[in-house]
Subunit: 391 residues, 2 copies
Amino acid sequence: MENFTFYAPTYFDFGRGAESHVAERIRQFGGTKVLFHYGGGSIRTSGLYDRVKDCLDEAGIPFVELGGVKPNPRSGLVYQGIELCRKEGVDFILAVGGGSVIDSAKAIAAGSVYEGDFLDFYRKKTPIEKALPVGTILTIAAAGSEGSGNTVITDEETQKKKGAKSDVLRPRFSILNPELTCTLPPYQTAAGATDIMIHVCERYFSNTEEVEITDRLCEGILRTVIYETPRVLENPNHYEARANLMWAGMLAHNNVCGVGREQDWASHHLEHELSALYDVTHGAGLAVIAPLWMRHVLKKNPRKLVDFATRVWDVPLDEANPEATALRGIEAFEAFLKSIGMPLSFEEIGARKEDIGQMTDKLFGGRDTEGNYVKLTREDVMEIYESAVRE
Amino acid sequence: MENFTFYAPTYFDFGRGAESHVAERIRQFGGTKVLFHYGGGSIRTSGLYDRVKDCLDEAGIPFVELGGVKPNPRSGLVYQGIELCRKEGVDFILAVGGGSVIDSAKAIAAGSVYEGDFLDFYRKKTPIEKALPVGTILTIAAAGSEGSGNTVITDEETQKKKGAKSDVLRPRFSILNPELTCTLPPYQTAAGATDIMIHVCERYFSNTEEVEITDRLCEGILRTVIYETPRVLENPNHYEARANLMWAGMLAHNNVCGVGREQDWASHHLEHELSALYDVTHGAGLAVIAPLWMRHVLKKNPRKLVDFATRVWDVPLDEANPEATALRGIEAFEAFLKSIGMPLSFEEIGARKEDIGQMTDKLFGGRDTEGNYVKLTREDVMEIYESAVRE
């Protein structure tokens, strides 16, 4: 196990009706003037927008609004949010929505108290050392941004998705009411579940040895998602299954299952090129990439893939042929993704073979390798992308 | 899953040499005048006492000392600590040791800023709403107090162990260096591992249904302890096994695996009467009580005991006789405890049959039942104690 620090001071308020505490939570963490940040129409049609507005009004907490966050959130709206926060003297950002809204809120939070261009953080020019406090009301189990210090923004100038992270970006509070996720369409639910699984996999596939405790946490989260996702798809109003998925989504990405171990993140980076170019749902892009990444690295480094097969998918270990065991695990994973309605090929997400060169160029920039579990070369990445083309 | 809040804002600094950051961490969390609180001689013989003292001196952080915390920490020393903190204007408490030292530090932290008798908190007369900040350097994987808001103190007047809890008691930082645990004697190591397991079991044995995610976390922590403890006993200097056990110990009790579910705590309460009366090591007392509690509740409520057997101990499910499956799980647990040198009977810990009535009286006080998974009556508790007498 490697040395690490772990600091996850988010206050979680979980359960039915928890959003009614929003004003109390904002006060608890010192907010006096709020930016109410959200996405499109879903929180209006569900009535959540009105409930939050009423809570703030009743508590006498002044706020300004900024809606319009899109999936794969863009730099343009972040600049608007930063300007609004400065002009209005906002001291607390409330994100109501999914990972995109929360990631956008984090970017605004850090950008508002930084003199330069907020994209400096995402271009790794400067670390994020301070930010306005952020609180969230989560509406989808997926990104884990409600408990993490991570944020991903699409730079509209270059059409490149870029990540940044800092413990100061971890939300001060996050309100998780599983009922709010019951109206999600099946595709979004399944894509969210896939995102959760790959957040775990990026940590699980590690060359750090002797990390039994975090291995076991990873496996537990994966098994939960495998168990609960079909139940949620069968009965979208299954509160209990939604609840387990929602808490799993937070745990998958607040890094409690990733501390002390080298992590990979190649699948995410390969996917980011897809969602930046085609605006595909992130989880669906991961469903295409992750199993093919597994198939590609299998020959070079089967160790954790064997664990993945035996401990997560209950594949019996073939001691004479561990690679075959690992392959059965990958096949089980692919069958699961297919069963929950996720795509497994370029064709299904509208991605094109002729863009592979461009995506690979953008992915590498000036770097030589991608990922850690196996250090992928440019050729490896192209092979993974190409294996997604079924034509 | 039940509604819950979860707030665990401790900063963990984990790994080799982490104690050298102690001055930096105290500054990070605003300490300017420190109470250095510790137990007996072990931190002196190991050199840890000198290293901490040198760190504070070099950083120019003034401190006063209070050593002498005993296992099953006593109210008398807490009163001394409170007086010292007030007299010296202490604003930060550094606990260097195991759960007893940390629990004592938490009592001092809450008592120093409370006008009444600190035992009011433990007598449930008043909730703990504020406390001085506490930081820890942990020297044994066991109690989980390094990440929890819990504290247990023995009231010397009544010889009764009493617990209190509050999120304000969660340490601001905890330094976890597995190397510091390598010098622990095997018995203390095994008792610590047992304590970790029972912290999980008190949460696992629940009547709350549909808690797959926390079930899986519980099982993962238990499996880790089962895997790592024999490795540590075989090779006390096995850093990696010590590290996994140490992080498991924190996770077992910071409640990440216990949120949203009814918890039990009968085994702990039955054990507290043993350790208050005979000053037995808490984990050793738990080794005696917990399997017998399991055997006792098996007939009345086998459900989670079947999961415990199949998911933790890999007992194949006998569908025609799930109780037999559950019993095999309990037997596996008892065999494990025996294999790591833990006692399983009153005789082995010097407890006496003739004290059972008195312990049961003290346990119940004015209450009618104990625990939740099965609500134990006075007769149930006496039967569990009596089943520990092998004579």
